[in-house]
Amino acid sequence: MKCPLDESLLVDYLEGELEATASSMVSEHLKSCPVCRTEYEALLEAREALRAMRESKTEEPPESFWQESLQAVAQATYRRRVDSSLGKVIKFPYLKPKFLAAAAVVMMALAGTLKWGLFTGRSVRSPETVVQAVSPANNIALEDSLYLLTRAIYQCDLAAMALESIGELEAGDTSGIPSAGMVFPVGRSVYEGLLDLKDNEIDNVMVLLASL
C-alpha cells in the first residue's frame, strides 16, 4: 500500500500547522507505519536541535554598532543632501497658497541678494552653518530644504564677493553678476526642496527666511 504522507504533509504535522482532524490522522498513521515514523523522528531530531540552538542567545555586537549602522543608513538615505536635484526634471508646481507664498519669499530673497547683497557688506554664512544653527528638532526634510535655500543665497553672495574683490564692480563692469540663467537652476533646487515640505514646515522656512 502506498503511504499517504507526502513530504509537505509531514512538515505541516511537524510544525503543528494541521487542523485537529488531519493531525490525528497523521498521528494514527505514524503509529502503524514504521517507515513514516522513522522519517518523522529524523525530522523531529533535526528540528529540535535547531530550536535548542535558537534558544541559546547569540552574541550580538555592542549597542554602538547599531547606532553607527543606523547613522550610516541615515546618511545614505533620508539625511542625504539633495545635491543632485539640479539635474532633476522640474515637476508641475503645487498650487497651494502657502507653497506659492513660500516660493515668492524665496525668490524675493534671491532677488534681494542679487540686487542689494553686493553692497550690504554682511558676512556670508555657509549653508552648513545656517542649517546647523537653526536645525529644528532634527527635522531632516526641513534641514534639506534650508540647505538648498541657503546654498542658493550663498552662491549668489559668493559670486558678488568675488566680483567685488577683483574690482570689476568699481570699474562699472556688471557682466559678471549672476544672470537669470544662472539663478534659474539655483531657484529650481530651492523649489524642489520646498516640494518635500509640509505646510507647517513651509511656515518655519518663511520665518527662518525672514531672519537670514
Binding site: 509531514l10 522519517e39 536541535a49 540552538m53 555586537p61 543606523l70 550610516a72
Partner: protein
C-alpha cells in the same frame, strides 16, 4: 506603536526620518539572519546597510500592509546570495558569531554541552545547499511562516516545505554519521588502550 505600513506612508509623505524607526526595528533581525547564512560580522554589516538603502530607494513598491519585513528579508537574502556567489564560496562555513552564546562564558558545563550541539549543527548545516540553508534559517531560526519564506525565496509554498523536509532529513543523517564516527573512534581508542 506605529505599524510598518503607517511608517512607510509617513516616509512617502515627506517625513523621511521615520525610516530610521524601521531600520531600528529590523536591523537586529536582519543581522542575525545574515550571520546565520554564514557571513562574518563585516560582511553582514555591509550587506545589512545596503539592504536598508535599497529598501529606502524602492519604498514606493511596498504596497501590501505587513509585507515590509518579508520584502526586507528578500533584499537581504538576495544580496547575501549574490555576495556568496561572487566570492565563490562552496559549502558555506557558519561564522563563529552565529554560534557563540553570551551566558556560556561563566559556565564550563554549558560550554561543553552547547559546543557539542553547535558542532553537530555546524557540520550538518555545511552540508546543506544554499537554498536549503536559507529555508532552514528563515523557518527554524527566524521563525517566519512558510508563506513568507516562500515569498522571500521565490518558491512555491509546497516547494518550500519539501525543501525544509529534505534539509532537516539531511541534517539528521549528518548527526547520525557524526555519532557513529564518535562511537567508532571511542571503540578504536578503547582497543588501543587494551592492547597497550
Amino acid at each position: 506603536m506605529e505599524t510598518d505600513g503607517q511608517l512607510i506612508a509617513q516616509v512617502l509623505h515627506g517625513e523621511r526620518e521615520k525610516f530610521g524607526i524601521l531600520v531600528e526595528r529590523y536591523q537586529r533581525q536582519i543581522y542575525r539572519f545574515l550571520i546565520r547564512m554564514g557571513l562574518d560580522h563585516d560582511e553582514t554589516a555591509d550587506i545589512m546597510q545596503n539592504a536598508f538603502i535599497k529598501a529606502y530607494s524602492n519604498l514606493k513598491s511596498v504596497r501590501e500592509e505587513g509585507s515590509f519585513r518579508c520584502w526586507l528579508y528578500t533584499i537581504a537574502a538576495n544580496q547575501a546570495k549574490n555576495y556568496l556567489r561572487q566570492v565563490s564560496r562552496r559549502g558555506v562555513q557558519v561564522s563563529p558569531e552565529a554560534l557563540y552564546s553570551v551566558e556560556e562564558r561563566d559556565n564550563p558545563e554549558l560550554i561543553y554541552e552547547r559546543r557539542s550541539l553547535r558542532d553537530r549543527i555546524e557540520e550538518a548545516m555545511v552540508r546543506l545547499s544554499e537554498i536549503q540553508r536559507q529555508v532552514v534559517v528563515l523557518r527554524a531560526f527566524e521563525d517566519l511562516p512558510f508563506k513568507e519564506v516562500a515569498k522571500i525565496t521565490n518558491m512555491s509554498l509546497s516547494g518550500v516545505k519539501v525543501t525544509y523536509h529534505r534539509a532537516l532529513k539531511k541534517m539528521s543523517i549528518s548527526f547520525k554519521i557524526k555519532v557513529s564516527n564518535t562511537k567508532l573512534e571511542a571503540r578504536e581508542k578503547g582497543q588501543n588502550e587494551m592492547s597497550a
